[in-house]
Point group: C2
Chain length 331, copies 2
């Protein structure tokens, strides 16, 4: 307050010297307003042709950067990339952004976030997808289809409510056939030699068992709904798929996990994320998709991009760069 | 719908071959949900030290690109820059984003947008600032200070409601002393030889007359509130100022109109915007500020940047590039 008083004195003397209009400051009577302390509901809406797409953040997960987060690159170099992207050194923050598409005839959820109760200790930080689509005026009961890209927990756990009920009770659940076959295969489960991979299998079974395994499988390459074509982008998981959503002359590429955080893996498509099950196949998929995105100037909706996770892609000397699509204050 | 049916048939036959869980599709009974058609309330909150900053979009203005929008560059080259930034050729879209700062002891509005009724025909597209801060939980009656950077309509018209009442009735209004002296000087008004500049003068007088010219002048370089120091960045207008907001070890530079749209004037700091009254002085201010932002790695809040208008600045071969700060889903 000292500085403010000083400044005001100076301002007043300056004003007197200028001799302009009357400048008696009004000193507000009321107490200072309290800090609000809450973030905006994280949803953003845009059109692709006649389709209405609502990107809704599920939140984020922050953790200490593991030594092997990028399996083929030294941690020091990863830290350099984080700092170059104005991110915190030795920390990794990964956002999650599922989307909802209204085609005019179908209301479609694409991936579902970690679920409101999935990560212990992250309540409110992750698991926001259900509350954010509600804030966006979308009723979970009105969802016709849920399309799943792959079976990692941040994409499927939001199929359930915290009490293990169906989060989208009237929706058909579409899953990639290769992914389903792999993760439901007991022999594959038995072959896993890491605790983490066993848990990925067990989590997928937990979620789909809660749905009584009532899902519809689809083959990558097929149209999963009018104008929404799936694309085989295997590697991140054995059956991982992404999508081209087209309406009229407009398209957006819904990439799911073709890359994890763009600051590392768009800038450096040859870097292998810890989560990529077949890193070489994932890199091949990634390079193919990103070459297409840059060449075609097609927008990409990136699940692990910062919200609202919608960008154009440019080639750079060493890889690619994402150019966020400007926020449109109207739709 | 043809494609969907075809795909479903194929999916079902595929599912049968795989022999996995039961796959009878649930056909939803309800009609398709209607398109929602509205955009999210455009506000975003972040902390600078203990200060809480709320960026709130006022909307945007779109217009056919004038031949002389960049006064020292050919229109073709401007169009090339627009297309390179994935923007529409021959069109210019300029967003507006004022902010609100709660220091814990003062609630401060910095610039005010075009006002809810200011631009005929743009209702809903621009003039959203008052409704967006309300959505953000901020009461206009609780605002202690309004700090104005310069006297263009998109920065001052929101001082008034559509019926010409005070939009922030309990706030002290702080204006730059050089700007006040210039725009309130009848001799300066008489010297203007373009209709546009006469209108800028007349609009400033209209707004401040509605406040009975009850303002407090401040000299650039002074602290206008605790931790908020004004910086003389003249050129865009004769008295234009910007601000450094500091709390604890954190700072953000609130640039007002040091640049107009970053895709043109951050990338090319030597380009002169039509709105810059003294283009050479504006360029000198711009280069000085941007060199500092890049060197100090200081965040910038840019009034004409795409919402939420918060970025880091990097040097490039020809100028600078803005790197949007990732949206934080929590605060």
């Amino acid at each position: 307050m000292h500085h403010l008083n000083l400044t005001r004195r100076e301002l007043l003397s300056g004003a007197a010297a200028i001799g302009a209009a009357t400048l008696a400051p009004q000193v507000p009577a009321q107490a200072a307003a309290p800090l609000v302390g809450t973030q905006a509901p994280g949803w953003y809406r845009y059109k692709v042709g006649s389709y209405e797409i609502t990107a809704a953040t599920d939140g984020k997960r922050s953790f200490k950067l593991p030594d092997t987060f990028v399996t083929n690159i030294k941690k020091d170099q990863v830290n350099e990339a984080l700092v170059a992207a104005h991110m915190e050194k030795d920390m990794m923050t990964i956002p999650y952004t599922p989307i909802v598409i209204n085609t005019g005839s179908k209301l479609i959820v694409m991936d579902t976030g970690v679920g409101e109760a999935a990560f212990t200790g992250s309540k409110g930080v992750a698991g926001q997808f259900h509350s954010n689509i509600k804030a966006a005026g979308i009723d979970r009961n009105a969802v016709d289809l849920v399309v799943i890209s792959h079976f990692h927990g941040d994409h499927i756990n939001g199929l359930l409510t915290p009490d293990n009920k169906l989060a989208f009770p009237n929706a058909e659940i579409l899953v990639p056939s290769v992914e389903w076959k792999y993760f439901m295969d007991d022999a594959e489960r038995a072959r896993q030699n890491t605790q983490r991979m066993k848990e990925v299998f067990d989590n997928a079974r937990r979620v789909f068992d809660a749905l009584n395994r009532k899902v519809t499988q689809y083959d990558a390459g097929k149209e999963v709904a009018p104008g929404i074509t799936s694309v085989a982008t295997h590697g991140h998981t054995p059956g991982h798929v992404s999508y081209v959503v087209s309406s009229g002359s407009s398209s957006v590429y819904v990439q799911a996990d073709v890359t994890n955080h763009p600051a590392l893996f768009v800038r450096n498509p040859g870097w292998h994320a810890f989560f990529d099950q077949d890193p070489q196949m994932a890199e091949t998929s990634r390079r193919k998709v990103y070459d297409m995105l840059a060449t075609e100037k097609m927008m990409v909706q990136g699940f692990h991009y910062p919200f609202p996770s919608l960008a154009y892609i440019e080639k750079t000397g060493t890889g690619y760069r994402e150019i966020p699509v400007p926020w449109n204050p109207v739709i």
